[in-house]
């Protein structure tokens, strides 16, 4: 019983508190931060509780399709990770976000509730509801500073792109119903033959969209307009990760259809490669980190496609910690120095040693340097790729090299000696405070520790129990040779980056031109169609209504005229004729005797003739 209550509270508590804070208005400003931090702490406790207790609940929704939540190993890991990172990010945001706190914390908590529901959903209705709420809060949070130009536009781009991809999930739900598999996630592989392909395709599209894989990656670039805590939570650790989580959850379905798992694997690998190149070419720190998020999630998608659930989950968790750390660091430097351009951040690590050290740990982890977390988890995934197809392995290895390259680029830039004119380059985005507070530093320490220590998830003792818990015992594991090889590769690439500057090709800097391509291929035609439909409505449908109204009025006039001229006229004619007949009837009444005699004679003659004729 308490397990069930804990699970409902896991979703319900942040939702209620978030809604309250968000709707509260100005009155919540004073106590928004304490309330939200307290809620986050309780939430972490609840997450740990359900991770241990593993409850399962459901509530009736539609006939035969309940809203179901359950916690298994995969959900437990994800929920705990997200809960802890949410708490740390909210701590950072308590110092970093100074305006509209009630709205900010309310939306973050609402988002947290949606993530919890997504991670624990067992049926498609629950998943869909949470999926949509995640997208909506992401839009609101990206456009948090709506007073400035372009922020809301960026939020709309992100929202519309992910929403368009979400249509895949709706299609999958419909196909699952049509294919007779019901809407439970575990039952999806049992849909009818043709329908299964539709379901798999729908799920794949939705997950790729949410995880910012190709061809949807451009929305993540636009999402960087939001505040740094938002980028740290939503667009590194939680929301985009849910795309990867969905594919990990439905890897059975992908495997059952054959082509879907291959497609997922290649999509992930190619994304990792190409977005890695894009990251290397970026000059803005947050844009580089965004591209790197997309590339790292490519590894998770690759793992899901290959069926290596343990490796994918470990990579997901480790990447969440690492990327959250790096985004928070970027946020700290943005509010302190007022800039996020790499060229202006030269030597920034040396100004505040703690921040710089944690940034260094994060960058090294991202590069895949041993013994930090992303090194081992990546190899788990690549081991499965090697078994599946050597081409995939080569692509994955190249992507790993590129991740070392861009992480090295960041490391080299910020660890340089401070240039003399550094001060002149600051403050091009906001006025920097030149101060990094305690609330901003503490989360960085915890996340740096996590980025280092989570390597255990991919190393033998823990990884074996993880595999057993996830039911993934048959997946291949990384050997010592592979581990050594990838560590060496990372170091070599790092050294190369230190020695030579990495190139910045235009096609990579412009995020592969994906956004303009989308505008031309999708947005333009859609708007034209909308315009045509609007014109059709105005000219045809509206005119039909107007014409019918006009015709009604005209008909009414005509009928009125017909009534006045016709019916009324007839009545008038009858009256007039009767009056005239009456006047005529008076004419014989002359009073003259001889005329009366004449009339009598005439009548008699007529009468006689009639009698003779008839008788």
């Amino acid at each position: 019983m308490t397990g069930d209550a804990a699970l409902w509270s896991l979703v319900g508590l942040p939702a209620l508190v978030g809604a309250g804070l968000g709707l509260g208005g100005r009155q919540t400003e004073r106590f928004a931060v304490p309330v939200s931090l307290a809620t986050a702490v309780i939430w972490v406790a609840l997450a740990v509780g359900v991770a241990i207790g593993r409850p399962a609940v459901d509530a009736p929704f539609m006939v035969g399709t309940p809203v179901g939540l359950a916690v298994d190993t995969l959900s437990a890991l994800v929920v705990v990770t997200v809960a802890v990172i949410t708490l740390l990010v909210l701590m950072f945001a308590a110092a970093d976000v100074t305006g509209s706190r009630g709205r900010f914390h309310g939306l973050m908590l609402l988002f947290a509730a949606a993530v919890a529901m997504t991670a624990t959903a067992t049926t498609l209705p629950a998943l869909l509801v949470a999926w949509e709420v995640m997208g909506a809060t992401s839009y609101a949070l990206i456009g948090f500073g709506w007073q400035q130009d372009g922020k809301v536009q960026a939020g709309a781009t992100a929202f519309l792109t992910t929403r368009a991809a979400d249509l895949g999930l709706y299609t999958a739900a419909g196909a699952a119903l049509a294919g007779g598999a019901g809407l439970a996630l575990a039952d999806l592989p049992e849909a009818g033959e043709g329908w299964r392909h539709v379901v798999a395709a729908g799920v794949l599209v939705a997950a790729l969209g949410k995880a910012a894989q190709l061809p949807f990656s451009f929305w993540l670039s636009r999402a960087m307009e939001g505040p740094s805590p938002v980028s740290a939570l939503l667009h590194s650790a939680a929301m985009v990760a849910m795309g990867g989580y969905l594919l990990l959850r439905t890897h059975d379905l992908l495997a059952a259809t054959g082509w879907a798992s291959v497609a997922a694997a290649w999509a992930g690998a190619l994304t990792a490669l190409l977005l890695g190149a894009v990251a290397v070419a970026q000059r803005d720190l947050k844009q580089l980190l965004a591209a790197s998020t997309s590339a790292q999630l490519g590894f998770v998608v690759l793992a899901a496609g290959l069926g290596a659930v343990a490796g994918g989950t470990a990579h997901l968790v480790a990447h969440a910690a690492t990327k959250a750390l790096l985004f928070l660091v970027a946020g700290a430097w943005l509010s302190a120095l007022g800039t996020k351009r790499l060229s202006a951040l030269r030597g920034a690590a040396r100004r505040w040693p703690l921040v710089g050290a944690t940034a260094g740990i994060g960058a090294l982890s991202l590069a895949g340097v041993a013994p930090l977390s992303l090194w081992a988890t990546k190899d788990e995934v690549l081991a499965a790729a090697l078994v599946e197809s050597p081409a995939l392995y080569v692509v994955g290895l190249a992507a790993a090299a590129l991740s070392a390259a861009y992480a090295g680029k960041v490391l080299v830039t910020v660890c340089r000696r401070l240039p003399a004119d550094a001060e002149a380059r600051y403050d091009d985005e906001v006025r920097g405070t030149r101060h990094v507070g305690v609330l901003e530093r503490a989360p960085l320490i915890v996340l740096a520790a996590a980025a280092a220590l989570l390597v255990v998830l991919a190393l033998p003792p823990v990884s074996h129990s993880l595999r057993r818990a996830l039911g993934d015992t048959s997946a291949p594991t990384a050997g010592v040779l592979e581990l050594l090889g990838s560590a060496v590769l990372a170091l070599v690439v790092l050294a190369a980056v230190v020695r030579w500057r990495p190139p910045e090709p235009g096609w990579a800097a412009g995020w592969l031109g994906l956004e303009s391509a989308t505008h031309v291929l999708v947005v333009g035609p859609t708007l034209k169609l909308a315009g045509a439909l609007a014109r059709f409505d105005d000219r045809v449908l509206d005119r039909a209504v107007d014409e019918s109204a006009r015709l009604t009025a005209v008909t009414a006039c005509r009928l009125a005229r017909a009534d006045v001229r016709g019916v009324d006229g007839l009545v008038e004619v009858v009256a007039r004729s009767t009056r005239r007949l009456g006047d005529l009837a008076r004419l014989p009444q002359t009073g003259q005797l001889h005329e009366y005699y004449l009339q009598a004679a005439a009548v008699l003659a007529v009468g006689v003739v009639l009698l003779i004729m008839l008788g």
Binding site: H594, L598, A601, A605, V608
Partner: protein, 192 residues
């Protein structure tokens, strides 16, 4: 028994011509007196024609009645015209052409009827003394006629007097008939 001798036919035709001519003359002559005489002549001719068809009683009654009527009419002339009626020229008509047209049309219609209608055969023979038969019928089988005509005659007399009298007893004796002496323009009488 409709065969007639030549004499009868001749007489009848003479009488017919006289009757019609006299009738026309009634309205063509200048004075009312002459009109009266012409009317009397017409009636006498018709009465004599009746005698030709053995209607003795009725013919004589007709003649007598018309003579009396002419006398009365002469009295009326003097009363209304106030002068010697024989000397007064008069021809006052209205609607002459309409009247002529109507009369002509009526004559044509009736004559056509008389000629074209297929009259039936004679039924029965006249009684030996049809005047006596008339009297017996009137007092016997046709008593109703006598009983009707008599009151009608009486009513006529009364109505005629009422219409014609200038001053009745209500004028003379007041509305309640109690005024004594009577209100006469020339007093006299026996005081009643």
């Amino acid at each position: 028994m409709t065969e007639t001798s030549l004499v009868t036919a001749l007489v009848f035709w003479a009488l017919a011509v006289v009757a019609v001519a006299a009738g026309v003359a009634v309205f063509r002559v200048d004075s009312m007196a002459r009109a009266t005489y012409a009317l009397a002549t017409s009636f006498v001719a018709v009465g004599l024609a009746l005698l030709l068809v053995d209607l003795d009683y009725i013919g004589l009654v007709t003649v007598l009645m018309m003579v009396m009527e002419m006398a009365i009419m002469a009295v009326y002339m003097i009363m209304f015209m106030g002068m010697n009626p024989a000397l007064m020229p008069m021809s006052m008509v209205h609607g002459q052409r309409t009247a002529v047209g109507a009369a002509t049309a009526t004559f044509v219609l009736l004559a056509a009827g008389a000629v074209l209608v297929p009259w039936p055969e004679r039924r029965g023979v006249p009684a030996a003394d049809h005047t006596a038969a008339l009297g017996e019928a009137l007092m016997g089988a046709k008593m109703l006629v006598m009983m009707t005509v008599s009151p009608v005659m009486l009513a006529t007399i009364v109505a005629g007097i009422v219409l014609a009298s200038h001053r009745t007893r209500y004028d003379r004796l007041g509305d309640d008939l109690k005024q004594r002496p009577a209100d006469d323009p020339q007093p006299g009488g026996v005081g009643r």
